[in-house]
Symmetry: C2
Subunit: 132 residues, 2 copies
Amino acid sequence: MNIGEVARRSGLPAKTIRYYEEIGLIRPRRSDNGYRSFAGTDLHKLAFIGRARALGFTIEECRTLLALYEDETRESAEVKRVAQDHLRHIDEKIAELQDMRATLSHLVRACAGDDRPDCPILRGLADPETAG
Amino acid sequence: MNIGEVARRSGLPAKTIRYYEEIGLIRPRRSDNGYRSFAGTDLHKLAFIGRARALGFTIEECRTLLALYEDETRESAEVKRVAQDHLRHIDEKIAELQDMRATLSHLVRACAGDDRPDCPILRGLADPETAG
DNA sequence: CCTTGACCTTCCCGTGACTGGAAGCCCTAT
DNA sequence: ATAGGGCTTCCAGTCACGGGAAGGTCAAGG
């Protein structure tokens, strides 16, 4: 398979696939004309990486997960630890965003949103103490 | 004020303050020795930006908000629109993260996390259809 | 007067994970 | 012969900074 077909079948942009080769996540062969020649396993790996990325794992975590996936002697505990670490990370981000959301929606609700200049949002940003 | 004091009082790193000057968010004067010389209004602006950033606004949104803040003829509707757009953005991110969280925690719960190689997390990444 | 140390300056590189675009080769069809 | 689509590499840009080098400035102490 050439990169175009792999891109189509994995759902990843060709650019991204080239990048993944550059950083050593995959090692497709080359045809005589210099084109990348992907085997089924390459496609499989790319789909794996794509799903891991969709769950928010970093590239380095994907690298770790791929290595564990290919290691027949892995212990599932190690995989679970990686996943749980990431889960905690997700929870932290959700909490951060919810804090932002709470503050911001409070300000938004207080703002008339009309043609007058008075604005609780700007007051809140300028001085949260005074603006309440 | 020199940059150190402004950094302390605004809570922003000096590096960040220099960066904000570079991209034109603030324009502190210069002393004869070449040091940046910050006025009260500069500190005020920096605190404003810091709070907007803490709510997740991008730099460009901060620029817009600062301009609105300084425009006595603004309409609060415009501020509100910027804030609501950002609020929607936050909600999208929260939803994305919650989707990730749901899928990932499902996989984590299914994983024994022991010394054996069998791992539903890896199976889920390799092939979500088969792995369920 | 000299040094020390804290502060300040600019400049350049690196981050994560790509994305866009330019210049040019390969292959097939007409 | 040419047109097109696909492929290659390489370079630059994204966002919002952070790290660190090389060097100027200033006040205090010996």
